[in-house]
Symmetry: C2
Subunit: 195 residues, 2 copies
C-alpha cells in the first residue's frame, strides 16, 4: 500500500522536516497550510489531541491528516516553557531562556513531540522525546525555534549546528513521526499510540 498523509501546520520548517523523515518510510506528504488555534493542555499529547479534535468538530479535515505539537521542557525551570513554547519563543525568544538559565547548574531539558492522526474514525496520538541540555550560548544557524540552544544527548553541538541529517534521526519530532510510520506500515505491533 502506498501511503499518503496530510500534515496540518502553518510552519514550513515543520512540514519540510516531516517530509524528509517520512520519505524514509516511502510515505508521501501533502501540506495543509493552516494555522490551528491551540487549546490549552497540560501535555503536548493533550494539546495535539484537542487541536485535532476541534478541527474535526468545526471544519472538515480529511482522513489521514495529522498535526503535531511540541515543547521544550527545562527541568531547572519546572518544565518551562513546556506547552507554551511557541508563545514564549515569540516573546522572549531563546535569548530569554539563556538569561533564565544563567548560573543554573542543572542544564537538563527535553523536547517532547506529539503527533495526532485522524484515521477516519479516531484520533491516534504518537509521541517522541529527545533528551539533552541547554547550552550556555546560542550556536548554529540551521533549524528553527530553540534549536540553537539545545544540545542533544550524546552530542556536543546544538541542533542548529548538527543540521537536518542528524536532527531528523534523533529529534523528538522524528521519533513521534517514526512511531506513526511504523504503526501505519505494520512494522511494530508495539507502538506508543495512546487512545
Amino acid at each position: 500500500m502506498q501511503w499518503e498523509l496530510k500534515f496540518v501546520t502553518s510552519n514550513k520548517h515543520k512540514f519540510e522536516e516531516a517530509k524528509e523523515i517520512l520519505k524514509n518510510y516511502k510515505i508521501k506528504l501533502q501540506w495543509i497550510k493552516m494555522s490551528v488555534e491551540e487549546p490549552r493542555g497540560h501535555s503536548v499529547e493533550e494539546v495535539a489531541r484537542k487541536s485535532l479534535e476541534s478541527l474535526l468538530l468545526f471544519r472538515k479535515v480529511p482522513s489521514w491528516s495529522f498535526l503535531e505539537d511540541a515543547g521544550l521542557f527545562i527541568r531547572a525551570l519546572n518544565g518551562f516553557p513546556g506547552v507554551y513554547s511557541a508563545y514564549v519563543y515569540s516573546t522572549i525568544g531563546y535569548s530569554g531562556i539563556l538569561k533564565l538559565m544563567k548560573d543554573v547548574k542543572d542544564r537538563y531539558a527535553e523536547f517532547r513531540s506529539a503527533v495526532a492522526l485522524y484515521d477516519g474514525k479516531r484520533v491516534l496520538v504518537f509521541t517522541g522525546k529527545c533528551s539533552g541540555i541547554i547550552g550556555f550560548e546560542a550556536r548554529g544557524i540551521k533549524g528553527f525555534g530553540f534549536d540553537p540552544i539545545f544540545i542533544p544527548e550524546g552530542f556536543s553541538q546544538t541542533f542548529a549546528e548538527l543540521g537536518e541529517d542528524i536532527k531528523n534521526k534523533i529529534s523528538h519530532r522524528a521519533r513521534a513521526l517514526q512511531a506513526m510510520a511504523k504503526y501505519l506500515l505494520g512494522l511494530s505491533g508495539d507502538t506508543n499510540e495512546k487512545v
Copy 2:
C-alpha cells in the same frame, strides 16, 4: 436594590480582594470556590469571556456570577508573561521575571484585568488596567503573585509593600470591579463594558 454577586475562583486572595473592593459599593460577595480550566486567548478579555462561556455551557453557574482573568504585560518582553502569567508564575516565578529584566532599561509594565459577569442572559466584560514598572528586586510581603516586583505609577513602593488599602483603590482588578459595580448601580452610563 441590594446586590449580591458570586465570584468563581480558586484563588482565596482574589476573593478577599474583590470582597473588600465591592464592599465600598455595598455589594455582597459569595465565593464559588471552583478551579476553571483557562482557555487560550490573545487578551485577558477573551480569556475571561471564554472561561465563563464554557462554564455556562458545561455546568450551571447561577445568574450574577462572575470570574476574573488578569495578566502582567511587560513592554520590553513583548508582552510576556501576558495571558500566561499564572503558568509563568508557577514555573519561573517573579525571580525568573527579574532575571529576564536584568540590564533592561525599559521597565514599563502593566497589569490588566477582565471581569466577565453573567447577568442571566449575556456575558458582560469589564476591564481595568494599572500601569507601572518592574523593580530591580523583590520587595514586600503583602499581596500575591507578581506583587513584589511591580511598582505602580505614582508610587515608589511595590504592590507587596503598599498593601491592600492602596492596592484595592488603584489596581487593575480594583478598576475592573469598580467598573462592574458602577454599571450595576447605575452610577455611570459610560462603562468600558464590551459585548
